[in-house]
């Protein structure tokens, strides 16, 4: 078992990066790695989940699977405060279990991890 920090950097529908990073996080956690996640840069847009139930958006609302993180013992789920602020999203309400992280917190999370995987 290893402590793995998965760093998400892509916006939700920028190619398949966000979705495939999510699959990777779940797979790593499923084989007993201790996975934590950091949403950085444009990845914070993933947390702006549009209301797919109400619209006819033709894209898969993969963000619903963030709800599985607690089931898979994935955490902490950090959201880069700086990335939010620079995109005008400082006030965004985050999904359950997600926390804002300043640069010191992010640095500490990186130091604690055995592996960093950037997606």
């Amino acid at each position: 078992m290893q402590a793995i920090l998965l760093i998400q950097t892509a916006s939700p529908f920028n190619q398949a990066k966000a979705r495939e990073a999510l699959d990777l996080a779940l797979a790593l956690a499923a084989v007993e790695h201790q996975v934590s996640v950091l949403f950085q840069d444009d990845a914070v847009y993933q947390l702006l989940a549009p209301d797919f139930e109400q619209t006819t958006a033709p894209l898969k609302a993969f963000q619903k699977s963030f709800g599985l993180f607690s089931l898979y013992d994935i955490g902490p789920c950090l959201v880069c405060q700086q990335s939010l602020a620079s995109r005008g999203l400082a006030q965004l309400s985050l999904p359950d279990g997600f926390v804002r992280a300043d640069s010191a917190t992010i640095q500490a999370a990186m130091q604690q991890a055995d592996q960093l995987i950037r997606c």
């Binding site: 078992m1 290893q2 793995i4 190619q15 398949a16 990066k17 495939e20 699959d23 990777l24 797979a27 790593l28 499923a30 084989v31 790695h33 592996q115 960093l116 995987i117 950037r118 997606c119």
Partner: protein, 129 residues
């Protein structure tokens, strides 16, 4: 204990330099006496598995170079089946591909899941390209 590496490739073999960098890294690591536990193709890197890639003569076929390097050095070269199927890249566990041998992924590409990558990860250092 000798350091073992897991290499994770995520870019298309012909749309970036990731395969070239990974090959250089892998050769250097072996030359220095390190071990490679796995090379895993994910995201667009699974396009390397597609048979029938026909590049212009003056372009290096990095996917083929990586494949033959892994075969020579007996390094497991795995690819994510799910990522491959999403891109229409046939894998050898695909029933349609079985019917048409020419569509099979040629060895040494090994069809695997993310779970296999995750299991082989233990005790290795991940390097991404």
């Amino acid at each position: 204990m000798t350091t073992r590496f897991s290499l994770l490739l995520q870019q298309s073999p012909f749309a970036g330099q990731s395969f070239a960098s990974a090959l250089q890294f892998a050769r250097a690591a072996l030359a220095q006496g390190y071990l490679l536990e796995q090379i895993f193709l994910y995201e667009d890197a699974v396009l390397a598995v597609q048979p029938g890639i026909d590049l212009p003569a003056d372009e290096p076929d990095l996917a083929a170079q990586l494949a033959s390097f892994c075969q020579q050095q007996q390094i497991p070269l795995l690819y994510c089946v799910t990522a491959a199927e999403k891109r229409g890249v046939f894998s050898d566990i695909n029933a349609d591909a079985k019917a048409d041998k020419s569509a099979n992924a040629t060895p040494p590409f090994i069809a695997a899941g993310l779970a296999e990558f995750a299991m082989r990860l233990t005790g290795t250092k991940v390097v991404q390209f």
